[in-house]
Amino acid sequence: MSLLTLENVTMKFGGLTAVEDVTLRVEESEIFGLIGPNGAGKTTVFNMVTGHYKPTAGRILFRDNEITALQPDKITRTGIARTFQNIRLFKDLTVLENVMVSQHHTIASNGKAVTWFFKSVSRLGYSEKEREMRNKALELLSVLGLEMLANEKSSALSYGSQRLLEIARAMATGATLLLLDEPAAGMNASETAGLVDTIRRIRDDFGLTVLLIEHDMKLVMGLCERIMVLDHGRTISEGVPAFVQKDVRVIEAYLGREWVTVGK
């Protein structure tokens, strides 16, 4: 049983086919890379998995349960959380609050929302849970090296720290599968190196599975155990980094057909 399965998934926007007949399996506790040129449809794949888009065709399964086109919040509660390519933090909230927000669903789902609404208004039996959430958030922040910034507004953070905070926030949902959309974008070389370690470490320490989109080839080849390459919405190659790296179709997609023929 794969952790995440996409079966012949297609996404059309009017006349434009962003993702076409993609099949993908991500196994438990692997780090899987999704790469491809700009506009290949990678983010669209994420958006379908997290329920932001409803696929035009195909099925998506998580631990063998179909999650195709469920509401995004429901999908998150089943154990999939994501980061965004164009950072979407809660700007006016503090770093700590950003992470605590992700734990809110643990107290407010399954029809408990109304109970908790009254508990929050009346403050009955509330502070203990609040403390628990705060401690867990602080722990996650220290895993990502952000604990010193806990009380800053999230918009005051550097670009690199904001990307890390997005990861902390996604982890705080309690998800077992993390979808990271270009986590290294805008980071400098040393930050990127740190990120590689961090992703490995959270995978090992928290028993997570990671599906990531990335443009930095060095990062992808060094970090991912398996890779799938998309081009114009179609899968053009899939396998271990060493295989994908040498695949003629991949080189073609990235560098253009001419380069390949001349290169030979």
Partner: protein
């Protein structure tokens, strides 16, 4: 500052405010004490709207509708059967409303509940719409309420409105309910629930991606906002002592006035909402002199009606230029903040 110190300071401050209110009753004439009551009422309206528009990130233009619902509901419950018999000239008031009379407190609670039920019924379908569409839907709702009020003769007395409401609303009711409203909204806003609401306000897509059921949360905030709007409506009706659906007292103008209060004070700040409400009540009364005849350097100027709102708008624009995020921004009053303000003064 220690948490204990803050609690003690708050416990001292509350009776102090009560004492000031008491003194204002004893020492000021009834005109001013009516304004102080109005500040309490505006405060409730503003705090309940800032919960919806400032904290939960939905943009409602229907607040006046809930206030009107509250006003009618409680008025129909506090007027005596004889009074109703005399007032309802076009058509008789329907049973059982024509034969009941209950205490003001319970009438106010029921007013809040009725408004909350309507908030639920409006919010359920229209909170699925986003942004501008929701604003338009709620605007439409408040106009519909007014039109029903004008035409449902056997319940609202139509265009004649309700008159000679008992003058139950005094400083104590208004400020007591303000305290309840602030306590509820504050503890909600600074709980996990409020954090989720603020997250939705900042970025609803991301909030949903973090497992939050956006619709449910916004609906609950909208219903609570509606509840307190209904409460304020009951108080406002019994403060005015007349409910006239032909004027704009309970119409869209009221919604805009409350919007001005919360934007003035700082959208999303509960403290700001109260300050905005107080400023609005005070200024709109004080500027009344503009509409009477004025003697300016020997020139007699006749009062121009509407002048007050013109000057008020001018003031509003000036405040928005110097404090673009309102007087309080999104921050709240805190003892620490107060201390640091004094420290800064002292250092200079």
């Amino acid at each position: 500052m220690k948490k204990q110190t803050k609690i003690i300071l708050t416990l001292i401050a509350l009776p102090l405010i009560a004492l000031l209110l008491f003194l204002s009753q004893e020492l000021l004439n009834s005109y001013y004490s009516r304004i102080i009551t109005l500040i309490g009422i505006y405060g409730i309206m503003a705090v309940s709207l800032t919960l919806v528009n400032g904290i939960s990130g939905v943009f409602s233009l229907g607040h006046a509708g809930f206030i009107a619902l509250g006003a009618y509901t409680s008025a129909l419950l506090t007027l005596s059967p004889e009074q109703k018999e005399m007032t309802f000239l076009i058509e008789k008031l329907v049973w059982p409303l024509n034969s009941i009379q209950i205490p003001f407190f319970w009438a106010t609670i029921i007013a809040g509940l009725v408004a909350a039920v309507f908030a639920f019924l409006i919010g359920w379908p229209s909170l699925r719409l986003t942004g501008d569409y929701f604003a338009i839907a709620t605007l439409g709702f408040s106009e519909i309420i007014r039109i029903f009020a004008l035409n449902l003769n056997s319940i609202t007395n139509g265009a004649l409105g309700l008159k000679a409401l008992p003058d139950h609303t005094n400083v104590w009711w208004a400020w007591g309910w303000l305290l309840v409203t602030v306590a509820c909204v504050l503890s909600l806003a600074y709980s996990s629930f409020g954090r989720a609401l603020r997250a939705i306000r900042e970025d609803r897509v991301a909030a949903q991606a973090m497992g939050i059921n956006v619709f449910k949360h916004q609906l609950m905030a909208f219903v609570l906002g509606g509840f307190f709007a209904g409460i304020s409506g009951s108080l406002y009706g019994h403060w005015l002592s007349t409910i006239d659906p032909r004027t704009n007292t309970f119409g869209i103008l009221l919604t805009f006035n409350i919007l001005i209060m919360i934007v003035l004070g700082g959208l999303g700040s509960i403290t700001g909402a109260i300050i905005g409400g107080a400023l609005f009540a005070f200024l709109s009364e004080w500027l009344r002199f503009l509409e009477g005849p004025i003697n300016l350097l020997g020139f007699k100027i006749m009062g121009i009606s509407g002048m007050r709102m013109l000057v008020f708008s001018g003031l509003f624009v000036i405040i928005m230029i110097f404090w673009p995020r309102g007087l309080m921004g999104r921050s709240e009053f805190s003892w620490d903040g107060l201390v640091s303000v004094f420290k800064r003064r002292y250092k200079r």
